[in-house]
Symmetry: C3
Subunit: 269 residues, 3 copies
């Protein structure tokens, strides 16, 4: 079997949507600066300016791409303000984005941080005020994909922005208290509580989960184990506790959103 | 002229939409397991769980991709249940998806079936309960794209699920009765009746078509041959009889949907 | 550093949306006729039949792709009518689309036109009545990407369709009158007045801009320089005067749409 080339991979995560030409322009910038790169959309459907949603999407996705992938995130409500631009290497991948916390969950997850720099901005007027994706982030991602060493992109930093820490707390014996951290477009609620948190706390299938107005009994495996319109708790494919409603919206039924408290405890016998 | 490499092509057809990170994760899984593969979205806009819509989308598209393409379909309302996963080769292409009938129209169309297997699932806990696209179908598609023989993916099968047969019936001399099989997002109605069916029945432009509440006279070539708001019958680009409304929605105007009967006959003189 | 192959790049701009299989089929046609090509979506979100929106999207994007890119546009309300199909080379790029003006802004912008041809259509029945993207435009784009000389695609033409000229007029000393040429999905209004127009007219930050019902004072750099719900004028990332509303819709607030007059003058002291 002939050995195929391994072209560099660059992922894109933005809040641009796909209706306009802006996501397309990012693809062009990367292909122009790193010929042969494979540009893979992670998603362009992050809600406008929702840094936390983008941070979770990246955290739940980056490890499924090949080693060496460059992940470029442009969710940047501070564009035009003096916030820094960040590039980092961790876990064998590279990450580029505004220094607003959007990379921090992936970097925390990746471990083995190999370095981070504040990207030196191109001189004005070569950089626009409103499209740093095109003028700053995509060019930096393309340079990394083309093999430019991280240190050439800017000066080393260690103090980048992190999202607010949302710890899972032990709440008495065999009980955990966390919160909703992501709501997808079907209204499913992902908590910060993970499979490992449950295991550590000695909690299994026989749990009761309190979120918003409701208490839900038992940990299921898939949505259809609940009756239509009824809530169900399961471990989602990213390893997080998820509250869903079979054929319905959990956010609406439970009056829950990001930040809503979730309590998991052993079901009373 | 230098000979360019022919990287393997993998298409994706899902009901994930593009708002979340799930379609992006499939791209990553394929690029990780088959470096250099070209991942081409067929569509991620299949209505949730609509196996039949995905089956028609695949049937109407697969042959336009290069020989050797691997088509990976993840429309899988039975995820978590014991339904099998299928991989097959036919017509010089490969097909991967749940064994719920979603591949059956393409396989029937492709002819020359070169084999089919039930994909051996990865061991738990390496496979999630709710994201077999990531953990089962995309990895299998990537292995085929990378050159793994079909027989290495699982044990041979011959009895995969097929969608309900929707035959076109002769209804007296020079008349055909079929039904609507697909409704697109503009409300256009595609019938199971094809150009070849019409030719075989000796039906040409001078037909009358009865669907829902209306009878429509004549076969046109394009939408604008009808007045705005009026229904029009034509042969669509996939070779099927289509009922549309110029600048309107045929499903609404005619009260028709998938399964609605369509009768085509020679127009009385 | 090993020299990577520079695979040909083909961009797609259509009004197909992403819900159906049609954009996917274009990708397949290109990959089948030009193995190894990189297909990059510019956007499939052009409003149905909106030739002018597509023309601006292409104009604002083409130059960000690598030299040699083939840009294939399928926004073709005249499909089925005898309008011609066009292929052209200009500015080191190639352009393919219906001869309805959709390429004319990019061609005018690119300068150095190296030639244009009317694409010879494939014989019926190999070409459908309603999907020239698949049967005519994508095959022509793929041939160009694969290295076929332009002259082999059809006979030379010089008289292709151009969009109506929308000149910016001097309106007294230090004043410009133009119009809105594009409205994006957030309701932001792009005028035909460019950064260069302002400079030539001696207009700087101290301008007043009249559009629809409102007069807006001063040129800002980014949206957040206006209070929420208030209009703001800036130079957008494509170098055009843009009227936006911070956290709102400028089209609604100002009662403006494509064609609405915009007047820029020095702010009275």
């Amino acid at each position: 079997v002939a050995r195929r080339a391994r072209p560099p991979v660059v992922t894109l995560t933005t809040d641009f949507g796909l209706a306009g030409h802006h996501a397309g322009v990012l693809r062009g910038v990367i292909l122009a600066a790193c010929p042969g790169a494979q540009v893979a959309d992670l998603t362009h459907g992050i809600p406008a300016g929702d840094v936390e949603a983008a941070a979770w999407a990246l955290r739940w996705s980056w490890r499924h791409f090949p080693a060496g992938t460059v992940h470029c995130v442009v969710v940047d409500p501070g564009v035009g303000s003096p916030r820094r631009a960040l590039a980092a290497r961790a876990g064998g991948h590279a990450f580029v984005g505004p220094d607003n916390g959007v990379l921090s969950l992936a970097l925390g997850d990746a471990g083995r941080l190999a370095g981070a720099v504040a990207i030196a901005p191109p001189p004005s007027p070569r950089i626009s005020w409103t499209f740093h994706g095109r003028d700053l982030f995509a060019p930096a991602a393309a340079r990394l994909a083309a093999g430019t060493p991280l240190a050439r992109l800017g000066r080393r930093v260690t103090d980048w922005a992190r999202l607010p820490h949302r710890p899972v707390r032990r709440d008495g014996p065999g009980a955990l208290e966390g919160e909703i951290v992501a709501v997808d477009r079907w209204g499913n609620l992902a908590a910060n509580i993970t499979e490992e948190d449950l295991r550590t706390a000695g909690l299994g299938d026989g749990v009761e989960v309190r979120v918003g107005r409701r208490t839900i009994l038992g940990l299921r495996r898939y949505y259809a184990e609940a009756r239509p319109g009824e809530p169900v708790v399961l471990l989602n494919s990213d390893g997080h506790l998820e509250i869903a409603v079979n054929l319905g919206r959990a956010d609406a039924l439970l009056g829950a959103r990001r930040g809503t408290a979730v309590r998991v405890s052993a079901r009373p016998r």
